[in-house]
């Protein structure tokens, strides 16, 4: 065990002035969720840094989880030492011995935010560097490409030593920008849209349309599995499953085939809007990318978007499919999205959907039925599932088998 804590450097939070405490608090809560399986750790936060006291936990395991959490610029496993220079020297030596520094090259770089500390950065670099050189065989200095870089942070409360800096996911803590609803179909795009909007600090709740028997339980499972991946970012993820069969059947009955897609989307958006209202969210996030399919032409967006004036956030709107796929691969949702089950979007796809639907026509076709009642019914039938980062959905069901 070389290190006893992990020091976390904030991302964009650092620039947020008065709201700083709010942001830091969000990040700390998210970390608590994401790391809840590590019972011994303690998280402490101040204005500039967050510290995770390891209390015996392996830092490598925790590092893997931290890398997914938004709002972290970088982090380092550190040893905390008192500001007595002799102790700093001694601890630096211990770290280097544990890292088997003999025969390697190194440099020392010091950051001194406590300007009252009696030694300045150059003095500290020199003091620690020469102490290491004197005590470790065939250790040499290389300031350009060192094998080991001893980083020293002199802060008000203590001095922190580390040899590693790991890049974080950047972005802002999930929840720091408010809450939105994500329309999650199970395809490749919507989880990516969700991920990107979480990166800008949105807390998301997903809405999924479920149409048994036209879509199978597997397609629902797919969405839950996607939710699990997204929960690794936010710690927890809520999915609202909307019973949609009845509405889809009615649309098939009453609406001319080439307009069914348009009307279906309008219905989905209305229902999502209703759930958004109940959940007190302020926006709707979709995976739409301009011109990708018939429902995502500008004309379609214009006609579909008419049913709500809630801000619709489309993080992928200008992205190419290949770039979206790259992100999906990176966040590990691609394989789940590629499972070949029918979802609410594919099952009733008309042969020739309108790519330039008109608002007037949509109004006309919707006039044939009482959608308000149906929407109410659908919203009341919503099944809400909470997915936690740590747990596997099957655990309760099958745990004794494994």
């Amino acid at each position: 065990m070389i290190y006893d804590q992990i020091l976390i450097r904030y991302g964009e939070i650092s620039t947020k002035g008065k709201n700083r405490t709010f942001f830091v608090d969000k990040l700390r809560r998210n970390l608590k969720y994401v790391l809840n399986e590590y019972k011994n750790i303690k998280i402490r936060a101040d204005r500039d840094r967050m510290y995770i006291q390891l209390n015996g936990e392996e830092w490598e395991n925790i590092a893997g989880k931290l890398q997914k959490v938004f709002g972290i610029q970088s982090f380092s496993p550190v040893v905390k030492v008192s500001k007595d220079i002799e102790q700093v020297k001694e601890q630096a030596l211990i770290i280097f011995q544990k890292l088997q520094a003999s025969g390697k090259t190194f440099k020392v770089s010091t950051k001194r935010s406590d300007k009252e500390y009696p030694y300045d950065t150059n003095e500290l670099n020199y003091l620690l560097g020469s102490h290491l050189l004197q005590n470790i065989d065939s250790l040499t200095v290389d300031v350009h490409h060192p094998d080991l870089e001893l980083k020293v942070e002199v802060r008000k409360d203590a001095i922190y030593l580390t040899c590693e800096v790991i890049k974080g996911a950047g972005g802002m803590p999930v929840g720091s920008s408010g809450k939105a609803m994500l329309m999650l179909s199970g395809g490749i795009d919507s989880p990516v849209a969700g991920y990107l909007s979480m990166k800008r600090g949105l807390k998301l709740e997903a809405v999924h349309f479920y149409s048994p028997p036209f879509t199978s339980e597997r397609s629902k499972q797919k969405v839950l599995d996607l939710g699990k991946k997204l929960a690794q970012v936010s710690g927890q993820f809520i999915i609202h499953i909307v019973p949609f069969t009845e509405i889809q059947q009615l649309i098939q009955e009453h609406v001319p085939e080439n307009y069914t897609m348009t009307i279906t989307r309008r219905m989905m958006l209305r229902i999502t809007e209703e759930i958004r209202h109940r959940q007190e969210a302020l926006a709707i996030v979709t995976g739409e990318s301009l011109g990708q399919v018939a429902s995502q032409t500008l004309e379609s967006m214009f006609t579909i978007n008419e049913v709500t004036n809630t801000p619709i956030i489309r993080p992928l709107v200008t992205m190419d499919k290949n770039d979206i796929i790259d992100v999906a691969r990176e966040i590990d949702t691609l394989e789940i999205s590629n499972r070949p089950y029918e979802d609410c979007c594919t099952v009733f796809t008309p042969a020739q959907p309108k790519t330039k639907p008109k608002r007037e026509n949509a109004h006309k076709y919707e006039g044939y039925m009482d959608f308000e009642a149906l929407i109410k019914k659908a919203v009341e039938g919503v099944e809400t599932i909470i997915v936690n980062a740590g747990d596997s959905l099957e655990q309760s069901e099958f745990s004794d088998l494994f």
Partner: protein
């Protein structure tokens, strides 16, 4: 009863059999069926794959389920041969492989493939320089076992992997059957392209196994059918056996260091005690050796007779590997190590599981001693 033939097969753990029974009776659906009974079976399959992949340090989709070691080895050798024959028709393997590798190679020979069988040194170990020397422009595959099943020598898998990393067109297969659950290999880091595992060697059930196929590597399937297992291995999945395997591997790898250390103590005891007996020669080398196998000969005693005599004390050991012992042939690995035929025909293998105890080892030594004494008069030439 003392069971010392764990390289042939292990006793399935009770909790593993319980899992098998429960899955087989309650979750009997076909994972490919679209209804909820099928979905449950599919979930079990997915969770098993995840658990096994995590234990082995690989990605979920790099695990393909099979019926066991023989299928796994055949699948890789013949699959690679068929997939990459355009690239070349030369395969490198060793002289001490399990028959499911060497006989598959012999079959491939009939189809025009050339096989190089690498020699081993007196410790039963391949040398990486020999691998390098054997490489030709038309080499497509190197297949080397991790732990030899007859003698227990650990092969230089890391070194071979490192060498082959310089030859991106040559694939690397490791028969990991004796090593799985005991001596983990870092498939990704080495790197290895294929590895074979068999469940009944780590207290799972017979008829289940897995192969690891590195992400992105293609393989022509052996079996044509319903395209299960990413089209690589058709056939309805043995869900109960697979879940049982996931559990067995987890149990096997719990507190692994501790268990291996204990096993090494027992093997060291056996080695020292047996070496004291007249006419006993230990073949298993001291270095680069698996913790669970000890091979020795008692010169002048037919191995088969001795095994039966020892079995009268309810101590079960084996002649050579179970797969070749019925044919009554001298131990192939020992011959390759340069051991003379007389010793090679009289070799006996002890193979432990993590459940064997020092007390059992003590009793087994006594049983072996008594058996030799008893046979001495009858068998001395």
């Amino acid at each position: 009863m003392i069971y010392f033939d764990n390289s042939a097969t292990t006793k399935p753990k009770k909790e593993v059999v319980d899992t098998f029974t429960k899955v087989a009776t309650e979750y009997y659906g076909n994972p490919s069926s679209i209804h909820s009974i099928g979905l449950q079976a599919e979930k079990l399959l997915m969770q098993s794959r995840k658990q096994i992949a995590t234990l082995l340090g690989v990605k979920d989709h790099e695990i393909i389920f099979t019926s066991g070691g023989t299928e796994g080895n055949n699948m890789v050798l013949k699959g690679v041969a068929s997939q990459f024959q355009g690239r070349g028709k030369h395969i490198i393997t060793s002289a001490i492989e399990h028959p499911s590798v060497s006989n598959a190679c012999e079959q491939l020979k009939r189809d025009g493939f050339e096989i190089t069988y690498l020699p081993v040194d007196k410790n039963g170990r391949i040398h990486v320089e020999d691998v390098k020397k054997a490489i030709r422009p038309d080499t497509i595959l190197v297949s080397v076992m991790h732990i030899n099943n007859e003698v227990g020598t650990i092969q230089p898998i890391e070194e071979i992997g490192k060498l082959l990393a310089n030859y991106p067109r040559i694939l690397f297969h490791v028969d990991h059957v004796q090593g799985a659950g005991k001596i983990p290999l870092a498939f990704h880091d080495i790197p290895i392209d294929f590895a074979t595992l068999s469940s009944h060697k780590f207290h799972g059930l017979k008829g289940t196994g897995a192969i690891y196929i590195r992400d992105g590597v293609k393989l022509d399937p052996l079996l044509a059918g319903g395209n299960q297992e990413r089209n690589i291995r058709s056939g309805t999945e043995n869900v109960a056996g697979i879940v049982a395997m996931a559990k067995a591997l987890r149990i096997s790898m719990e507190k692994l260091d501790e268990k291996v250390a204990n096993m090494q103590k027992i093997i060291a005891y056996l080695r020292n005690e047996l070496a004291l007996i007249d006419d006993v020669e230990i073949h298993t080398p001291i270095e680069y050796t698996a913790p669970h196998i000890l091979n020795f000969s008692v010169l002048g005693y037919k191995a088969e007779v001795l095994v039966h005599a020892i079995a009268n004390h309810e101590v079960y050991v084996s002649t050579t590997s179970a797969c070749s012992s019925k044919r009554n042939e001298p131990c192939k690995t020992l011959l390759a190590m340069g051991v003379d035929e007389e010793h090679a025909s009289s070799s006996i293998r002890i193979s432990l599981s993590f459940d064997n105890t020092m007390q059992e080892a003590k009793e087994a030594v006594e049983a072996i001693k008594t058996s030799i004494e008893k046979l001495k008069l009858a068998m001395r030439r």
